[in-house]
């Protein structure tokens, strides 16, 4: 394990290797594809049964909702949006890390992303699926859910194009589509690897179909890289757009505490924050369970922790600016809404949110905490709790005390609120476990590209291979990784 400790060193000018140990192309394939090809671990079966049971709770709750109506939830006339939208925004937020890692970090040439992007993208897709449950069932008559889309019909009935809820349908479905495409394009070469290694006819056929006839020729790779680059370029603004539109759901209204101009970037920062925390939680477990510590190294975890503390601080900035402007505006409704948040009946939720999102992540300023697995595991869960509370606080506190004091109400969740939310974890976990079992959880082809062996010019000064436009200077490779 000595090589696992080595990543702690940080010498400027020397890049630590992105994968550890004496890895070569074959060993990377073995360690990743081996997970999919080996016998089903007992622990996986246990977890899968657990996840399925939780999924059944979701199905039961939704069944009850569909047969009885929205009234089974605790929403009341004052608080018309509560756990449903909280759950929706919570999951959509989590669904931001995957595409951020795969698109934005790709555009910034952050090669460390290669070990984590596949699982993060998968997580994104499953989180978006879980999010979709809420608006889908909140429409009440779920069999009419297709009315959300602008489909020409004989009734001449259209969604309200001026409503941010409709923009949401567009933003989320676009995001889901592009995320799936991006994920799938990245999977193609690895699916071909699995096809080629398949020991049974079924596996060969199934993986073969999805590998789209990939042969790994130069032409294939050239097209692949071009497609990947274009998808990354398209996805980068999408990452921003989805949570921007989600924030519009609130901010275009005139409800104090909802209507404030910082919402779009603030929601995006919060989404990345929660998404990274979820990736963290899952990766800590997965790397340990499948022995991938040399591919997903301490360096990866530390980098993600840095992103968490950075985005957490941005969220803290937004809280502070919101509070300051609520006072500065001199607007009595604005300042009431904020004071009510912090010191009203939901103050317990507010201070849970502040401590989970702003205070605890600050521990990551210390390298000791940033590189301690138990510490980061706990903090990643704390962050996710905090981000759930953030949405709850924003949504419920503003609604529960509206402009008419006689209609003020306190929201209490019913058992079906709780089981629906809990149940979506079952959906998420079921999908994620299936992913871990049947698809390569690390991008084999991409990780190989950051191995020392993939560097065509390691440690040669005078190989005469100049960068275009480097005006005759001979390059000196710093270090293979």
């Amino acid at each position: 394990m000595s090589d696992l400790a080595m990543v702690q060193e940080d010498v400027p000018g020397k890049r630590v290797p992105l994968v550890l140990g004496k890895q070569d192309f074959h060993s990377v394939t073995e360690s990743v594809a081996g997970i999919v090809e080996g016998p089903t671990p007992h622990k996986w079966k246990l977890l899968f049964v657990l996840a399925l049971s939780i999924l059944l709770i979701l199905l039961g709750s939704l069944g009850r909702l569909v047969t009885k109506g929205i009234g089974v939830w605790g929403n009341n006339t004052t608080v018309g949006w509560a756990w449903d939208i909280t759950g929706f925004v919570f999951w959509i937020g989590i669904g931001h890390a995957g595409t951020l890692i795969s698109a934005i970090l790709f555009l910034f040439r952050q090669k460390w992303r290669t070990s984590i992007n596949r699982a993060a993208e998968a997580m994104t897709i499953f989180a978006v699926m879980s999010a979709g449950i809420y608006p889908l069932f909140h429409v009440g008559r779920v069999w009419f859910a297709y009315w959300l889309f602008p489909i020409p019909n004989q009734m001449g009935m259209w969604p309200n194009f001026k409503s941010p809820l409709f923009w949401d349908v567009c933003a989320v479905s676009t995001y889901a589509t592009v995320s799936i495409l991006f994920w799938y394009v990245g999977l193609v070469p690895d699916l071909a690897t699995l096809r080629d290694r398949a020991k049974t006819k079924t596996r060969q056929i199934v993986y073969g179909i999805f590998a789209l006839g990939w042969r790994g020729s130069h032409r294939h790779w050239l097209n692949y890289e071009r497609a990947y680059g274009i998808l990354a370029g398209l996805s980068a603004p999408l990452v921003l757009s989805v949570h921007t539109i989600v924030s519009f759901d609130f901010a275009v209204s005139i409800i104090p505490g909802w209507h404030t101009t910082i919402f779009p970037p603030y929601f995006v920062a919060g989404a990345i924050f929660s998404g990274f925390a979820m990736v963290m939680t899952l990766m800590i477990i997965a790397r340990k369970a499948f022995g991938l510590e040399r591919l997903i190294t301490m360096r990866h975890l530390e980098n993600m922790n840095k992103v968490i503390v950075a985005t957490g601080t941005m969220v803290g900035y937004a809280y502070a600016v919101e509070f300051f402007i609520a006072w500065y505006s001199g607007n009595p409704y604005e300042s009431f809404a904020l004071m009510n948040r912090a010191f009203g009946p939901y103050k317990w939720a507010y201070w849970t949110m502040v401590s989970c999102n702003v205070i605890f992540p600050q521990l990551f300023w210390f390298k000791k905490v940033r590189t301690s697995i138990p510490a980061m595991f706990v903090i990643s869960i704390i962050v996710n709790i905090g981000m759930w509370f953030e949405r709850f606080v924003i949504i419920v506190t503003s609604l529960s005390r509206d402009f008419l004091p006689s209609s003020w109400a306190y929201f209490r969740p019913t058992i079906f609120d709780i089981t629906t939310f809990f149940g979506t974890f079952g959906l998420f976990m079921t999908m994620f476990l299936l992913f871990l079992r049947f698809l390569p959880m690390v991008a084999i082809g991409e990780v190989k590209s950051v191995l020392p062996a993939a560097d065509a010019h390691p440690h040669h000064d005078d190989d005469g291979h100049d960068a275009p436009g480097s005006e005759g200077m001979s390059k000196e490779p710093v270090h293979a990784a």
Binding site: L107, V252, H259, P264, A467
Partner: protein, 434 residues
Amino acid sequence: MSSKSGSGKTSKGAAATKPEADAPEPAEARKAKKSEAGAALGSSFKLSSEQSGKLMRVAGIVAGIGLVLGGAGFASDSKRFAFSYLVGFVWLATIGLGALFFVIVQHLVRAGWSVSPRRHLEWLSSGILPACAVLFVPVAVFAHTLYHHWMGEHAAHDELLRKKAAYLNPGFFYGRAVVFLVLWAGISLWFARTSRKQDETGDRSLSQKMQLASAPSMLVFGLSLTFAAFDWIMSLTPHWYSTIFGVYVFAGAATSSLSALVLVTIALQKAGLLKGVSTVEHRHDIGKLLFGFTVFWAYIAFSQFILIWYANLPEETVYYRDRSAGSWMVVSLALLFGHFIIPFLGLIARTAKRNITVLAGFAVWMLVMHWLDLYWMIMPTLDVGDAHFSWIDLGGLLLPAGVGAVAVARAATGGATYPLKDPRLAESMRLENA
């Protein structure tokens, strides 16, 4: 100009030969190598006295014209000049602040590609921000004209302003300004000096030191820029408020400083001062950032606009009402096209970012647009109902811009044109956009 020829000679070939990636060589061997290579390449890492003289002259001329125009402007219409000067001052300050942001962020993320651009950002920030501490004096003097809405006597009878008086009062306003300016000057000078110290010693621990300082600096930067934006611009219309305002000003700072960086990079490359150190690949990357932040600016500007427009609350829409009245609408639309659509379409292509003329053209364009953006934010307080461009506005811009140019030129002539012994220099030189 204080070029120390001695230190220049020793550092001459550091990059020209072999930027030390790992194994440190014996000092003598290195020295010998350097002088050879230095002789071969000529002095290519430092502005020659001729070049520095020319640079200082140009900057001095701009400052001179600014002084004359500004003085004449002040004499003919001191009120207009105050507002024009505020536009020019903030224009300069935001370039310096954007540059400071990028200096800090390069350390924060241990960036490898940007070693040589970082030096030029150090010039911009450590030249401009200390100069701003002095250039703020006229703003302070004019404050009662500029911020008369809340500094004037009638503020005492305004219920809203009375509520805000704990924040919006002259004493606290000046106090905050001093804090911001001292912090900015201090941080930017510290990074520039530490980086220059590394030119001489090559000490790797300096990189670590700067990395360590970068995170708290970023916090200070974010908060100070936000509140400076509230104080100096947002408080011109003291009833109006927008929580995103700090981010909006930041977005403008980022685009303008990157535009300035493009121009500095191209000028130095053309002068042959960055041979092999900074190439078309670096310009391409800076161009990508410029493109990205142009989109970011549009995103933030749009967010602010759509939320206020949609909610349609009078206390918020007043800002856009003033800016869509009369010919201000033309300026608003000019920003939509000039600050976003045209540069978006113009810079999206790879070939555009790699073409010197196109990139430099857009850099100048974006600097003008940044000025127009600030003009659009500040001037409607004076020119209510219609935009009236005047020659005084040019004086208000050229005076701070000229002083800033002199300060940047001084920073540029003082040392090497890129961090000679930065441990990541070799990595930066290998940059290639696949």
